[in-house]
C-alpha cells in the first residue's frame, strides 16, 4: 500500500510540475543555471570515469580472449558496443544518479524543512513548477551531450590502451571500433539516457519535496532518491532494451 501512496503522490507532484511556468523569464534563468549545475559540472566526472573504463575494458577483453581464432580487432568491436549500449547510456546514469540525484534531493529537502518552499507557496508561486521543472528539462537536455562525451572519451581511453598498453595495435583497435557499426544504436543509447535523466531528476525531486522533519530526514531523502532511481533505471533498462533492440 505504501508504494501505491508514493506513486500517487509522485504523479500528483508531476502534475503540478508540468505546467506552464508563471514567469517564462524566471524559468529560462533557472533552466540556464541548472544546465550548468547538473550538466556542465558533471562533465569532468563523466570524462574521467569513461576514459578509464574504456581503457580497462580494452585491456580486460583482450586478456579474456583466449580463443586464438577470434580476430584481435574484436576487442574494439566489443569495447564500442559495450560502451555505447550499456556503459555510457545506463551505468553512467547510475553514477550520475549518485551525483545529481542526491544533490537535487538534499537541496529541495533542505528548502522544505527550512520553510523556503512554504514561503514560495505563500507568495502564490507554484513551487513544484519553479523548482523542479528547470531541473528535469535541463538534465534531459544535457544527457545526450554527456552520453556522447562518455562514448567518445571511452573510445579514446581504449585507443590509449592500444597505443601504450601493447595489448593490440592501434590499427586493429581502430578497425574494430568502426567494424559492423550499427547506426541505430546511437539514437537508442541517447533515448534511453534521456528517459533515465527524467527518472533521476523527478524521483530525486519527489523525495526532496516530500521531506518532513530535520537534517536526518534530508539525509534519508537523499539516500532514498539515489537507491530508488537506480533500481528504477535497472528495471527500465531491461524493458527498454527488449522494446528497442529486439
Amino acid at each position: 500500500m505504501k508504494i501505491l501512496e508514493h506513486i500517487g503522490e509522485y504523479v500528483l507532484l508531476m502534475g503540478r510540475t508540468f505546467r506552464l511556468p508563471d514567469r517564462q523569464r524566471m524559468f529560462w534563468r533557472q533552466y540556464a543555471f541548472e544546465l550548468d549545475k547538473q550538466g556542465t559540472q558533471s562533465v569532468p566526472i563523466d570524462l574521467i570515469i569513461s576514459i578509464f573504463i574504456g581503457a580497462i575494458m580494452t585491456l580486460q577483453i583482450k586478456l579474456d580472449m583466449a580463443n586464438p581464432l577470434l580476430p584481435r580487432y574484436t576487442v574494439g568491436v566489443v569495447t564500442r558496443d559495450t560502451m555505447l549500449l550499456e556503459f555510457s547510456s545506463t551505468i553512467l546514469c547510475l553514477i550520475l544518479a549518485g551525483k545529481v540525484g542526491s544533490n537535487i534531493a538534499s537541496e529541495i529537502g533542505t528548502m522544505r524543512i527550512t520553510e523556503q518552499i512554504d514561503a514560495m507557496e505563500m507568495m502564490g508561486v507554484n513551487s513544484a513548477n519553479y523548482l523542479i521543472l528547470p531541473k528535469i528539462t535541463a538534465f534531459i537536455t544535457m544527457m545526450p551531450i554527456l552520453v556522447i562525451f562518455s562514448v567518445a572519451s571511452a573510445l579514446i581511453g581504449g585507443y590509449m590502451m592500444a597505443a601504450w598498453g601493447g595489448v593490440l595495435t592501434v590499427d586493429e583497435y581502430v578497425y574494430g571500433i568502426t567494424y559492423a557499426f550499427i547506426e541505430k544504436h546511437v539514437p537508442y543509447a541517447i533515448t534511453k539516457s534521456m528517459i533515465y535523466a527524467f527518472v533521476i531528476t523527478s524521483v530525486s525531486a519527489y523525495y526532496g519535496y516530500t521531506t518532513r522533519g530535520g537534517a536526518l530526514e534530508v539525509g534519508k531523502a537523499s539516500t532514498n532518491a539515489v537507491v530508488n532511481s537506480s533500481v528504477i533505471i535497472l528495471f527500465l533498462d531491461i524493458f527498454l532494451t527488449k522494446l528497442m533492440l529486439s
Binding site: 527550512t114 520553510e115 512554504d118 514561503a119 507557496e121 505563500m122 502564490g124 508561486v125
Partner: protein, 256 residues
C-alpha cells in the same frame, strides 16, 4: 479585514480548533496567543490556507477562503506577506535578490524599478547598503528577519502573517522587530496576524489579542484590557513569570 467564523479543525478525531470566531482588523496587529499545543499554529495555518478546515468560514474582506479554487487561492496569496519563524530566505539568493523575488514573479516592473523597490523596502527595515549583496547565511538572525519583512512587504500586501517573529532573538532585537511590524502595519494599513507567546511583544504591539486554550478561544481583547481581564486561564498564561506578576501588581496599585 479577516473574519474567522465558527472554525472547526480536527486531526484524526482529535479536535484542535473548536468553534473559533474572531475578527482581525486592518491597520492593527492581531495576536494569536496561547500555550504550546493550544492550537495557535493550526489556526494561523488554517487562516492562510495551509490547513483545510473541517467547517466554518475564513473571510478575506468577504472572500471565503475554503470556497476558493486553487487558482483563486494563488491570486489571493499575492496580497499576502508572510514572515516565517526561521525567516525562510532563499539561501541561493542574495539579500537584494530575495526581496526582488516576489516582484520578479508578479510585478510588471522593469528590472531597474524592481531594484529600486527592493532597495526601498530594505532601507525601510534598516538594512544597510553594505548587506544588500550578502547571502542570507552571512547576516545575523535579526537581519534575516528584517530582510524577510522587506520581502513580505515588497508587493504592498493587504495582509501580513508573522509566525513567532521573535523566536531566537535577543530582547533588544525582538523590540526592533516588534516596532517595525507595528509601524509597517499602521503605515500601510495592513491586517497583520501574529502568532506569538512572547509576552513582551504582546504588551508592546497587541492591538487585538486572541487567547486560545485547548483549541477554544477563551478571551479576546487588547494590550490595555489584558490587565483587567477576569479570566483565570489568561492570568495563568500572561502572569506566569514573576516579572509580569510584579508589573500587574504595580499596575493595580497605580489604579487604586
Amino acid at each position: 479585514m479577516i473574519a474567522v467564523k465558527n472554525v472547526h479543525k480536527s486531526f484524526d478525531g482529535h479536535v484542535v480548533l473548536d468553534d473559533i470566531t474572531a475578527e482581525m482588523r486592518d491597520g492593527s496587529c492581531n495576536m494569536i496567543i496561547g500555550q504550546s499545543g493550544s492550537g495557535k499554529t493550526v489556526l494561523m495555518k488554517s487562516i492562510i490556507g495551509l490547513h483545510t478546515i473541517d467547517s466554518g468560514r475564513i473571510e478575506y474582506d468577504g472572500r471565503n477562503l475554503p470556497d476558493m479554487k486553487e487558482q483563486e487561492v494563488r491570486l489571493l496569496r499575492r496580497e499576502v506577506g508572510m514572515l516565517f519563524q526561521g525567516a525562510a530566505l532563499f539561501d541561493s539568493q542574495s539579500v537584494l535578490q530575495n526581496v526582488m523575488f516576489p516582484l520578479e514573479m508578479w510585478s510588471a516592473m522593469t528590472k531597474k524599478e524592481m531594484e529600486d523597490r527592493a532597495k526601498f523596502c530594505l532601507s525601510r527595515v534598516n538594512i544597510q547598503e553594505a548587506a544588500w549583496n550578502l547571502m542570507p547565511a552571512e547576516i545575523s538572525g535579526g537581519m534575516q528577519k528584517r530582510v524577510a519583512i522587506a520581502r513580505a512587504i515588497a508587493l504592498n500586501p493587504h495582509y501580513l502573517f508573522c509566525d513567532e517573529p521573535n523566536s531566537g532573538l535577543d530582547p533588544n532585537t525582538s523590540l526592533v522587530i516588534d516596532k517595525l511590524i507595528h509601524e509597517i502595519t499602521q503605515e500601510y494599513n495592513i491586517c497583520t496576524v501574529i502568532n506569538s507567546h512572547d509576552m513582551n511583544s504582546i504588551m508592546e504591539i497587541g492591538d487585538n489579542i486572541i487567547f486560545l486554550k485547548l483549541g477554544k478561544m477563551v478571551w479576546n481583547g487588547n494590550k490595555d484590557t489584558i490587565f483587567h481581564a477576569k479570566n483565570q486561564d489568561l492570568d495563568d498564561f500572561v502572569f506566569a513569570s514573576n516579572l509580569f506578576k510584579k508589573v500587574k501588581a504595580a499596575h493595580n496599585k497605580g489604579q487604586e
